[in-house]
Amino acid sequence: MSTLIHPVAPQRGRWTDWLFSFGWLRFALYLMVLHTLMPSLFANARHVLDYMDDHTFHHLELANKITVLEYHQLPAWNPFFCGGNVGLAGPEDSFYAPDTLLRWFFDVGMARHLTVLLGLFLGAEGTFRLARATGSSGLASLSAALIMLTNSVIMPLWITNGFFNFTLGFGLLPWVCWCLLMGVDKPAYRYLGGFFFAWIFTHAGTYPAPYTLLVVGFLTFSMALMKRNEGDRAWLTPFVSATVLGVVFVLLALAKFVPLMLFLKQFSRTWAVIEQHPAPTIFSNFTGGYIPILVLAGLAPVLRDRWGAVFALGAGLFFVLAMGDFDPLSPYHLLKQLPLFKQLRSPERHVILVIQFLVLGAARTITLVEDAIAQSVPWALGASSLSVLPRSLRIGAVALGTACAAGIFAPKYVQMVKQSAPSYASVQYSFEPARHMQQPFRQQRGNRRDGHVFPAMHAGSLACITGIPVPQSRLLRGDLQAEEYPLDPALATVRRVYWSPNAITLDVTARRATRVLINQNYHRYWRSREGTVVSHQGLLAVNVPAGQHRVTLRFVDWPSYIAASISLLTLLGLLGLLARYAWTYLLELARPFGSKNTSKPNR
């Protein structure tokens, strides 16, 4: 039986934690802080950022939206970029992420604003819950959440560049960790953790997902170590939690995982630069405004707090990783030898995990101070402990601890939050939104630096960029009168009957067997019942026999569809479980109204 009014964490040490347990109040606080510190996020809702990568992501998301909402197809193929390229399989694609719904219900530009807010918001709330789960007080956890909400270590750079997959992915990371911790005792959290992990992965989680894997591994081993003396194989429980979480993650993420792996098997990225950053450079990220956090996080292990030690160790580990490939035995160099990690670059991105562990460590110290003040009351009164004091004194002592800790630490935290504001000044949505236009689809020469403009005018941009280079035919053109045409105009005529991103229907009249070219790149998943689909110097083409034919080309990605079906079934199963848990909770809530026996407090 669970408590009715309970803090997020399982422990119930301070009644003042209850004051911080109202989620809606925290959410309102996060919104107010963001609105005050980063007004640009709330203005020019349809505008895009100045940086080109934001335009590219905008392009991909708009192309997905058009494919789904206008053509009712899965965006397996994206004809709007590079002259045609894989959609779902692309590492940058975020179609399967739950936040896709935002882009369906709102304008893509607007949805991208909301995605940033959601990422920061989730990062804060996840940190709050994670801190609570490790025993930190409500006050300390809220302090940690506010720092993660406004941290200027690397987040402003990511937002300015349009890397919202990082904002959201690293915002979800603490949720995975929270579920891992809670999952040690409560199985439901393991499923939830798998869901959050899958969300990270499906939202272009090329970096956040491997990093999450590292953090989950680190926390699992840390918890196993902490539980080694608890008996009854308690040390195994973190591994059980991590394994179930991992299995749910794999099943949910399979829809993205299978096409992505097949894609990466075909193409890979070569990154020859050896990246390394001296320790002072990494350290300078934290010495500016975050000295109090450094000091508090450093104090926790000194005060012999176990979670404090784990967080300090985590911060240290990811600090060294952020230093990059400085030695053949450096952690980053060793990490790069692993299959999932070898394509990663920019090791300095690990600083986000350093700040994450530091704020959690600092929360431990604040909690220790808060508890020490509360426990000084019985000491001052000559009592052995809080529990022997009268009820009113017990409540007062805890309130005193919280109030004093707030008085000591709140000004420092408010100052740190305020100091982060100038770093976000570079986030300016100054670039005008694309204007929409309906016309038959055609390829333009385009410009990848203004990628957001082209899908809006129902056109493709041949000029493009992708993280992993894909083959592009040299025969792609931006000046064709018709996008589908015969190789030899003297032998055949071609008329477009229907066009959609994943299916094209043509009427072909051929005097002799000939070849019809489509102004898109070839891919092996294109199929046609009439004729044979071939690559014509990298261009999509179909060999047709003589006569009149209605040729329908379809992009059919069976591995992706099978994987998506498995993920969908898993999701439905999880929704069923969620409904069951919700029902149980409601019954629990209604219990005092149904029976006289349980409505009386126990004494």
């Binding site: 009715l4 070569t270 409540i395 005008e432 960029i465 407090p601 004494r603």
Partner: protein, 181 residues
């Protein structure tokens, strides 16, 4: 009007129940099953949640609602006998000339300065940078949208309008070939 003694004692009992709940949170050792619960605490809990939710909604109304109510920019106008993309042909040709000039200059610069050691995709990418900058400048000067500027560029390429060297612009682009360093 004063409350009856029965009612008073009932209220007092409920207040005591709420305090008992707070106290239960103070005692670490108290097992979850023994944490007192009552109708009063459930009602307190629900009321507090409702107040918190109302406050959250108020915050959303002042912060997020204006964001999601931003009006859509006007669509590109349909063609008329005199205009296309909302522009006369004269204006479209003037815009195209400016874009073509920037492209001609950038391609010449790439050759004379041997930019990127001849890496063709990188040069094309530089052209994209120049085109974007000139496109924004032209759009601002002629009071157009960037979308209109790209539509004009596309029309000029497709219709083979001459650039400043008298030749049409190249209708193809260099295939994607990222640098590895």
């Amino acid at each position: 009007m004063s409350a009856s003694p029965t009612k008073k004692s009932s209220i007092a009992r409920r207040v005591r129940a709420v305090i008992a709940t707070l106290d239960a949170h103070t005692q670490r050792a108290l097992p979850a099953a023994q944490v007192p619960r009552s109708r009063a605490t459930v009602l307190l809990f629900l009321t507090a949640q409702a107040c918190a939710f109302a406050f959250f909604i108020k915050t959303v109304r002042t912060t997020l609602v204006p964001l999601v109510k931003t009006p859509e920019p006007p669509r590109i106008p349909a063609p008329t006998s005199m205009t296309r993309f909302g522009m006369t042909e004269e204006l479209r040709r003037a815009v195209f000339r400016e874009l073509a000039e920037a492209e001609f200059n950038e391609r010449n610069r790439a050759i004379t300065q041997n930019t990127w050691g001849g890496h063709a995709w990188s040069r094309e990418d530089d052209l994209g940078y120049v085109q974007r900058a000139r496109g924004r400048e032209v759009a601002s000067r002629y009071n157009l949208s960037l979308t209109q500027v790209y539509l004009v560029l596309d029309e000029g390429i497709r219709s083979r309008w001459p650039g400043i060297d008298g030749q049409p612009l190249v209708p193809t682009t260099e295939p994607l070939n990222l640098r590895t360093e």
